[in-house]
């Protein structure tokens, strides 16, 4: 039990440091980026495309980041100032489809059809996002 707690805390600390390497730069960068004019313009341009899942244009960055790294996406949410509903929708989309390249690699190693499965994930993710937007 004692040994387990020790190892658990150590593992947790290691994992947190790994997360910090991604989350700290992303959160910091987004907190600054979102004040820039060009960011606001891109957001404005993207907003009609994100509307169908009930998200503001700026959340497109979160979703895109999440496709590469879920933890980077977590870092971008606070600076963008999303509401509870928007955060929940983003979370549902990303928790269904995230870190596609690395997890696709795992599927490949498990000798599964990773292209089909990844396409299925992305499709389901936006479908689920639309349902949550409708229900919540």
């Amino acid at each position: 039990m004692k040994e387990g707690i020790k190892v658990g805390i150590k593992e947790g600390f290691k994992f947190c440091l790994d997360l910090a390497k991604i989350i700290v730069p992303v959160t910091f960068a987004f907190a600054i980026l979102k004040e820039t004019v060009i960011f606001k313009q891109i957001t404005y341009f993207l907003s009609p495309y994100m509307g169908f899942v009930g998200l503001p244009g700026s959340a497109a960055f979160t979703v895109l980041l999440g496709f590469f790294s879920l933890y980077a996406a977590v870092g971008s949410i606070l600076p963008l100032g999303l509401t509870v509903k928007e955060t929940t929708i983003v979370a549902m989309i990303l928790l269904t489809a995230h870190t596609l390249i690395i997890e696709g690699g795992v599927l490949k190693q498990l000798k599964l059809n990773y292209i089909k499965l990844t396409a299925f994930r992305i499709l389901m993710a936006f479908f689920i996002g639309a349902i949550i937007n409708f229900l919540m």
Binding site: M1, E3, G4, I5, V7, G8, I9, E11, G12, F13, F15, C16, L19, A20, I23, V24, T27, F28, A31, I32, E35, L70, Y71, V74, G75, I77, L78, P79, L82, T83, V84, T87, T88, V90, A91, M92, L94, L95, T96, E103, V106, L107, Q109, L110, K111, L112, N113, K116, L117, F120, R121, M124, I128, I131, I132, M136
Partner: protein
């Protein structure tokens, strides 16, 4: 906004999010480690073996599914590699297990990270399980009715 305000806000948000991450991750990994050492999951998964019939899976599929859903992705994928290597499940069953886990893994840790930045825990937790179960069931029914369209078949 002026530059110092933006910088202060950036620092504040970075510190806040990392504080939340530490507060969530460390207790979780500690609990996972204790559960692993006590082999709790092996005991619980026996109770879920009947539920596996609903997915046309053998009872022993309960262990990799529960491991992937609740114990984090590293441990979960470790269990999957082992299952694949030792051929514990048929190819089709293995594909079903992986598809369920692909849609719904690390239910606790990843969900809590999003809850930390403001999402609703109950909505995410409930709907992730619900959608994963529902979609897999639909794919299984379609596969049974129209074998040509079987999502889990050879392709």
């Amino acid at each position: 906004m002026d530059v110092p305000t933006v910088l202060m806000e950036a620092i504040y948000q970075t510190v806040k999010v990392m504080g939340l991450v530490f507060a969530i991750v460390i207790p979780l990994t500690t609990i996972f480690e204790i559960l692993k050492r006590r082999k709790i999951l092996d005991k619980i998964s026996n109770r879920f073996s009947h539920a596996m019939k609903w997915f046309d899976l053998p009872g022993k599929a309960a262990f990799p599914i529960l491991a992937g859903m609740f114990m984090g992705v590293v441990y979960g994928s470790g269990v999957l590699y082992k299952q694949k290597k030792e051929k514990m499940l048929s190819d089709r069953d293995f594909t079903i297990v992986c598809t369920i886990l692909l849609m719904c893994h690390s239910l606790i840790e990843d969900t809590l990270l999003f809850v930390a930045v403001g999402a609703s825990f109950l909505w995410i937790f409930g709907f992730r399980i619900l959608f994963a179960v529902l979609f897999i069931k639909i794919l299984l029914i379609v596969g049974k009715k129209m074998p040509k369209l079987d999502f889990f078949g050879k392709s």
